[in-house]
Symmetry: C2
C-alpha cells in the first residue's frame, strides 16, 4: 500500500467532496480472516460474529447449486418472487417489503432517504456501529444515549427524540451487543409515543431467536416503523447479504429512489427463497441455538463469570471487572484460537460476547476459557 500512496501523493488528484473528505477510510468490523492473516493464527472456534454455525438448510445449499449455471443472467431487480414470499410470510403486501444487501445496506438507504446533512438521528451508545457509520457518512448528526441496566433505554431514547426533533431513531430488539430485549408491548408503546414524523428503525435481526411476545406485530397501517429483518442470522446466510424492510408502502417504496437495483444477487435471491420455505429447519436451528446458549451460560458460570439473559444467538458474559480486563480475556481467547468480540461502550465493555456455536466450537471454548482467564488475571 505504501508504495502506491507515495506514488499517488506526487500527482494532483480529483478532490473528495467536503463530506467525503471528512470521513475516515474504515472497515467497520475486522473479519476473522483478517485477524488470521495479520496474526498468523487459525481460529478453531468462530464465535465472534453471531453467525449461525449450524449452517443453512440443505434445501438452500441445493437451491444455490441449482441456480449456479444461471448466474449469467442478471438478477431480478424487482426481487419479485422473494418479495411475494416474504409478504405472504409476514401477512403484508409485496409493496410493503423492500429487499436489500443485508440490513447494513438498508440502514444506509434509510439515512440517505430520511436524514439530510445536519439532521439528528438518535441511537444508543454502544449500539450497532454500522448504523453510526451510515449516519456519519451521509452527514447527519448522531445523538446517542446510554444503555440502562444493559438494555437500550426506551425512555431516554424517546426523550432524546423529542429534545432533538430527530428524524430517525434506531432500536435493536433483541439488542446487539447485549442480547437483552423488551417485550412487544413496551416496543409498541415506545413506537406509539414517538412523534409520527420520526422514523423508527426497528432492527429485528435476531428476532427469530426471541421468546414469544418479544416482536411487536407488524402493522403497516399504524405508524412510521420499518421492521428490519435478515437472512444472516437464524437462516444461516450471513455471507449472502440479504436483509429486508417491512413497513408502510411509501416508506418501503422510497428505497426505489436510491437503491442499487441489481444489488441482491440471483443466487442470494434463490437462497433466501429456499430458506424462507424451510421453516422446519429454521425451528431446528432456533432449538439448537437455545441449547448452545444454555451451554455458554453453564461454561461461563463454571468459570465464575456472569452470563446475561439473551434473546439472540449469542450471550454477553460479564467478566466481573472493567473493560480492560474483558479485553484481556478476549485477547487471550484469540491467542488460543477462539474468535469472539466484545462491546466497547462504557459499562457494557465489562462483557465479552460469545456466539451460540456448534458443540465442537463450544468444546474449544470450554477448554480455552479457564486458561484465558488465568492469562487475563496475570
Amino acid at each position: 500500500m505504501a508504495q502506491s500512496r507515495i506514488k499517488a501523493a506526487l500527482m494532483p488528484l480529483p478532490a473528495l467532496t467536503p463530506l467525503a473528505a471528512s470521513l475516515p477510510e474504515t472497515v467497520p468490523f475486522v473479519g476473522p480472516e483478517s485477524i488470521e492473516r495479520t496474526r498468523g493464527i487459525r481460529f478453531r472456534a468462530r464465535l465472534g460474529a453471531n453467525e449461525s454455525s449450524f449452517g443453512p438448510s440443505p434445501a438452500v445449499i441445493a437451491a444455490i447449486a441449482a441456480a449456479a449455471p444461471e448466474s449469467w443472467k442478471y438478477c431480478d431487480p424487482e426481487v419479485f418472487d422473494l418479495r411475494q414470499a416474504l409478504a405472504r410470510h409476514h401477512g403484508v403486501t409485496p409493496d410493503e417489503v423492500s429487499v436489500g444487501e443485508g440490513i447494513d445496506g438498508l440502514l444506509g438507504h434509510c439515512i440517505r432517504l430520511f436524514a439530510a446533512p445536519g439532521d439528528v438521528v438518535v441511537t444508543s451508545i454502544g449500539a450497532y456501529p454500522t448504523f453510526n457509520y451510515h449516519v456519519t457518512s451521509f452527514g447527519a448528526r448522531l445523538h446517542a444515549v446510554p444503555y440502562r441496566d444493559d438494555r437500550e433505554d426506551l425512555d431516554a431514547l424517546l426523550a432524546a427524540v423529542r429534545e432533538t426533533d430527530a428524524k430517525i431513531v434506531y432500536l435493536a430488539n433483541p439488542d446487539n451487543p447485549m442480547g437483552t430485549w423488551w417485550d412487544a408491548d413496551a416496543v409498541t408503546a415506545f413506537a406509539d409515543a414517538l412523534p409520527p414524523t420520526t422514523l423508527l428503525l426497528l432492527d429485528e435481526a435476531y428476532g427469530e431467536f426471541a421468546p414469544p411476545g418479544t416482536l411487536p406485530p407488524i402493522d403497516t397501517g399504524r405508524g412510521s416503523v420499518l421492521h428490519l429483518r435478515t437472512f444472516s442470522k437464524a437462516y444461516g446466510l450471513a455471507g449472502l447479504r440479504c436483509g429486508y424492510a417491512i413497513g408502510p408502502g411509501p416508506l418501503t417504496g422510497a428505497f426505489n429512489r436510491v437503491r442499487n437495483h441489481f444489488g441482491v444477487s440471483s443466487i442470494t435471491q434463490a437462497a433466501a427463497l429456499a430458506a424462507l420455505a424451510d421453516q422446519d429447519y429454521l425451528a431446528s436451528v432456533v432449538t439448537q441455538t437455545g441449547a448452545a446458549r444454555q451451554r455458554i451460560d453453564t461454561i461461563a458460570r463454571a468459570n465464575g463469570l456472569i452470563p446475561l439473559p439473551s434473546a439472540t444467538n449469542f450471550v454477553a458474559v460479564d467478566c466481573g471487572r472493567d473493560g480492560a480486563f474483558a479485553q484481556n480475556v478476549l485477547n487471550a481467547l484469540t491467542d488460543l484460537g477462539v474468535f469472539i468480540r466484545k462491546p466497547m461502550a462504557p459499562r457494557l465493555d465489562r462483557c465479552i460476547r460469545i456466539t451460540a456455536g456448534t458443540d465442537a466450537m463450544l468444546n474449544v471454548l470450554e477448554t480455552a476459557l479457564p486458561e484465558a482467564l488465568t492469562t487475563a488475571r496475570r
Copy 2:
C-alpha cells in the same frame, strides 16, 4: 400496491429529505422477468441485456457449489483474496483495486465521493442510464453532450468538462449502447487533456471483447482515471454482482469511506476468483461471442438492415428509419418471444441492440426478425 398506498395516505409519515423527495421511484431497467410477468409471455431468446448466454465457466459453477455450505459465514469485508488476484492479473497493487456490487454500485460510490450536490458531471446523451440515476440521486448536475457518428464524442466531452469545471466525466469504451469504440491512443490522449482534478470514469465493462489496442494500459501512477471492470459480461456472472475499480490508491481507497463493506457476497467472491483463474474459458467465450456477433451482422443484412461495427458482446442494428420504427421492430420481436433493448437518445434511437447469444437464441432471432419487420412496416 394501491391498497397499501391508500391506507398509508391516511397516516402522517416521516418526511423524505428534500433531495430524496425530488427523486422518482424507479427501476432503471425493466427486467425480462418483469416483461414476462406483465405481458404474460415467455421469451424464447434472451438477447436484451448483453448477458453472456454462453454461461460461466464450469470451474465457476463448481466453486459456487463448493462455497454454498459455508454461506453461514460473513463474507470477507476486505475482499482480500479477490483483490490480490485482480492486482496480479492487472499488474497493480491490491490497494489499487476496489471491489463492489457491480459497476452500478461503484458508480454510485464515485458520485457520492467526488461530486457534491450541485457539482457538474459530464456524460453523453444516451450513455449508461444507471450512471445518470446515481448522479441525480446524489444531487449532482448532469451535463450531457451528443454522440457523433454513433461514438461518444471525445472532443465534445473535453470541451464540456472545461466549460463546466466538471468534477467527473464518464466514458464507456467500448461503448454501450452503440458498441462502438475508440483506440487506446485516443482514450489516453483524452485522459491526458483533462484537467487533473477531473475524475475520468472509464467504464470498460465490455473491455474483454474489444480488439487489441482498444483498452489503454492501466497506469495508476499517471492521472486521475478509474478503470471500471466487471464479471457481468465476458465472465458470464451478471447475476452475481461483481465489479471492480482500478486506479491510484487514494481513489480506490476512498471507497472505504462510504461502501457497504459486506456488500459482495461470499459466493460472489468465490465465483469471481474462479472465473478470473479460468482465462482459457474466457478466451473461448470471446471467440464464441465474436462468431455470434458475425451471425447477427449476417442476419441483419439479410433483412436489409445495417449492423454497426461492435467491440462488445452485442450489435447495434440500424433499422434504417426513425426511432418510432425501431421501437415497433422491438415491440414486434417482444411479441415473438425475442427480448432485446434499444437506444433511446435522438439519432441513436434508430437502432435496436441485439446481444451476441447462443446459436439456439440466434436461430429464434433469424426466424422472428423478418416477421417483426413486416409487422413494424404495417
